[in-house]
Structure formats: structure tokens, C-alpha cells
Amino acid sequence: MKLHWLGRTALTAYFWVFVLFLFAPLAVLMTFAFNQSMSPTLPITGFTTHWFHQAFSDTVLTGAVGRSIEIAAATGLFATALGIMASIGLSARRLRLRALIIAILLLPLVVPYISLAVGLLVLLNQLGLHISLWAVFLGHVVIAMPFAVLVILPRLRSLDPSMMEAARDLGSNEVTAFSLVTLPLLMPSLVSSFLICFITSFDEFAIASFLAPPGQPTFPVFLYTGSRAPGLLPELIAVGSLIIVGSLVVIAIAEGGRRWAERRLQGVPAEAAAPVDSGVPVLQI
């Protein structure tokens, strides 16, 4: 049923006002990254790229960004690998305690990060270990893995089982059939999974704030302490703008690439391959 034109206009306006509301703070941040003034306040005093230069020469800042990228990349790889294992395991026709296994695998989605963070701190203490970036990495793998499962499993289920059977009939064993047939078909979801896990880790503050050792902050931890120091704010805003632009570009490319790849791999139109049928659609980005 067609909506009245007035309703359509109102809803359209509402939507775009919200988009403006959502992007305004990001746009503001990027604008002030180029502002000459030390403090990010109006009026805009002049254009400069000084803060970017200052940010890139601040080794503590670049070190924190580098650390976060390393942990996030490792988290993306490990969580995706574990996600593949879990997805294949869960797609077994018969699996004892399936409901319980699913519940445990998805538990990290609901346990508050703050509780997990302090729990890990207590665990390390119990084991006589010091806080370390390894602990941050492990924490991140656990919170990211459910996203990997939620992205990979629906894709695995959507594959035509006859393709695997064909490979088996042609004489390949299960491992070969998996690596030659299933894995390439899963690739779009593996890339999505990697990116989601990467972002989850890169942006994570609670666990890192408790487990990153002093002197080895991840980027969010550095951002938190640094944003309390007015002198650091301009360069944080500069780096922050770059990170925001980077995230938006990656999201756009990932989504575009995913639609393209699924269209090619399955011969379905982008519409049908779009992420709306899995119950947790956002996770398919």
C-alpha cells in the first residue's frame, strides 16, 4: 500500500535528519583536525595540516596505533579461524549438546565487557601472570569470535551441499573438498568476519584498559588518557579523523565487495544476497 505523500516526505526528512545527526559529530571532528587553534572551539581560525605532522611524529601515539593494529589483525585472523571451526562443527548433522554448545559459543556476546575485563585480571592474578598484550589479545579473540560464527555459519548453511558431494564423488577427501570447494565459496564471509573482528578489537577499551601494561597502551587506551591532556587533543583529533575516514572507506569497500563476490559466486542478484535474512544482519557487513 502506498503511503500518503505527506507521510513519505515526513519519513524521508526524518531519515535524513537522523543521518545528519549521526554524521555531524564525525564531520565536526574532521573539520577541527585542520583547524589552526590549539583548542577545538569555534571560530575556525585557519587551515593547517600541522596536527597531522605532529601526530605522525609522536612515537607514543603511533606506537599505540601500531599495537592496536597488530592485536586487531591477529584477533581478526584467530577469531575467524575459530569461527570457521565452530561453524563447521555446528553444521555437523548430529551434535551432542548442540544447544549448550551454541549458548557457550555466543556467551561472549552478552557478558558485559567490564565484567570480563575484571574477571581476566583476576584470572591472571590467580595464575601468577602479569597483565600483558597477550591477555588483551586473548580477551579480544573471545569477544570477537561469536561475530565470526554469526557471519560464517549462515553463509556455510546457504551453500549448496551438492557441490561438496560432487567434490567427494570426484574422489577428493573431506579436507581437500573443504579447501578447494567450501573455503573459496566462504571467502566473502571470511573477509567480512575478519573486518568485523578487526574493528571489534581495534575499538575495544574495557579489556585493554585493565590488561594493557603501563607503557604499552592500545590506541583506545591512549586515546582515553590522551584526551584528558589538552595539549594532546589536536593530534588525537587528527589521527581520529584519519581512523574514522579509514573505517568508513573499509566498510564501503567491504560491503561493495561482498555484494559483488556473492553475485559472482552464486549468480544471485545483489538484492537477494543482501544481509537481511540472517536475523543478525549487521553482522554480515
Binding site: 537522523f18 548433522r93 590467580q126 544481509p275
Partner: protein, 312 residues
Amino acid sequence: MDVPGVATGGLARRRPRVRVVRLRIGRGTLVIPPLGIVLLVLVGPIVLLALYSVNLRTNIPGTPTAFSGANWKDFLTGSANPFRERFFYSMKITLLVSISATAAAYPLAYYLAFIARRFRYTLLLVLIAPFFTSYLLRIIAWTDIVLNNNGIVNQTLWDAHLRAHGNGISWLLYSNFSIFLVLFYAWIPFVSLPIFAVLENMDHQLIEAAADLGASRFKAFWTVTFPMSLPGVIAAFVFVLIPTTGEFIAPLYVGGPNNQLFGNEIQAFFGDSPNWNYGAVLAVALIVVVLVLMLLFGRFLNTDLRTQRGER
């Protein structure tokens, strides 16, 4: 293709069944590594926290460890326990944010599903893209540029001579308003998703049928579309409710001393003033609350993992 040890087993037609059995063993075992990691890194710490909360372990040197429910008793029944009061304050904010965000997101999802037909997936992506940019950076943009005393909002009001210069609005930061705004802002992109998914997969013929039977546009919406979209609405609500319940980052920036949330209390017990035994009570209580919420609402989340191929 012979399966080792089976080929001699006799009838050829029995082979496929044997193969299925072998497959089951091979594949199912693959859940062990991911399961093990969750048990070690997530369930283990929670169990340990539970032990701390009943004083079976302690970080305070020289304190004897023996089972004691004193901390739990104090938290749950102590008169005017500040942490319990903080918890109820937190839940109020959380509920307010969840309800507002869900209500505000409904028209967004409706627009995407019913009006923005051709570009709906692209627009959906535009809507949720901010969710994937750094949470801390978004909060910093609000705190240090938009809402602060000489931030954009106040400056604009001054320039427009709506307020005396230098006289900023005091409740823009460190208030219930700022906590609400930042959390609402953070979650609204994500919230529209489950609602959109439900509206998108709805049988549009039912709505047309309502119209054909003489229902007005509003009545068709209210009696057909809206009730059918309720699972998505509840899922959206839970999508905000659960993570916001443990929120502690936003109050660090935009909360004053009176607007800290329950998560901040936990943080303090494990940071500035270490009393892990009492802190563990709060941390475990938070987990329990979230798990109860999950049990109440979880079935609406439809993570779709249990359905087998083709049964959707």
C-alpha cells in the same frame, strides 16, 4: 571410493550410512577449540569472580578465605546500599535509552523498508556506518567539541545572542542528559537493523489485504504492520539494553560524579580502590542481570543458528 575398514563390511548400499557416521565424528570435534577458548578465557574468569564474591579467594593479603555471603547480603539487602542504588539508577538510564532508541529507530527502519525501495541496502549501510567507527572518538567529538562549555552548541547560542556570552548551558555535559544523548547516539544506527529485517521480510500482501478490506492507512499499520514487526522491535530493544547495562565508558567522559553508571562502580573496585571481593559481587551481579534479560528476551533475537539448512 572405499572407506577404510568398511569396504570389507559387506553390502554396498550400507556404505553411505557408515560415511555419515564418520562425518559426524570428524566435524563435530571441530567445535572443541573455539569452545575451549570461551571456557578458558570467559567462563573461567566468571567462575573465579564468583569465588571471590563469596570470599573463597581474596586479593587482600592476610585475610582468611572462607565461604561468606556477607558481601552479597550487604549488596542485596543492606539499607541504602550505594551500589544497589547506583544499579537502579543505571537501569533507569538504560531503559530510557533502550526505549527511546527503539522508538526513534522504528521510523528509520520503516522508511528503509517501505519507501527507500531501490537504495534501501545502501541507505541502511549509511545509517549503520557510524556504528563501526571508533566509539571513543565519537564520544570525544561530543565531549570536547560539541557539548563542552565553549563548544559548538554554546558558541552558536552566544553568536545568535540567545544567551549571554560566556554563559553556557550547564546541563549539556556531566548530566543525565549528556549520558542519555551519547548512549542514544551510539546505539541508534544499530537498533534500526532488527526492525528493518522484520519489516523487509514481511508479507506485504497482508498489508494490502487490510487496505482492500477498508482499513485506513493508519489502521492497516496499527493492526497489521506494527504487531507483525514486534519481534524486531523487541530484538532492537534488547540489542541496546544488554550492552548498555554494563556501560562505563560514556560516563567517564560525559558523566559527573552523580551520573556514573554501575559499570563505573565495578571499574573502581578493580582499579583505584582494590577490593576484589566486593567488586566481584558487583561484576557477577551484572552478569546475572544480563543473563536473566537474555533468558527473558533471547528468543526474540533469532540468531538463526539452531535451524538446520533449509528449514528456515
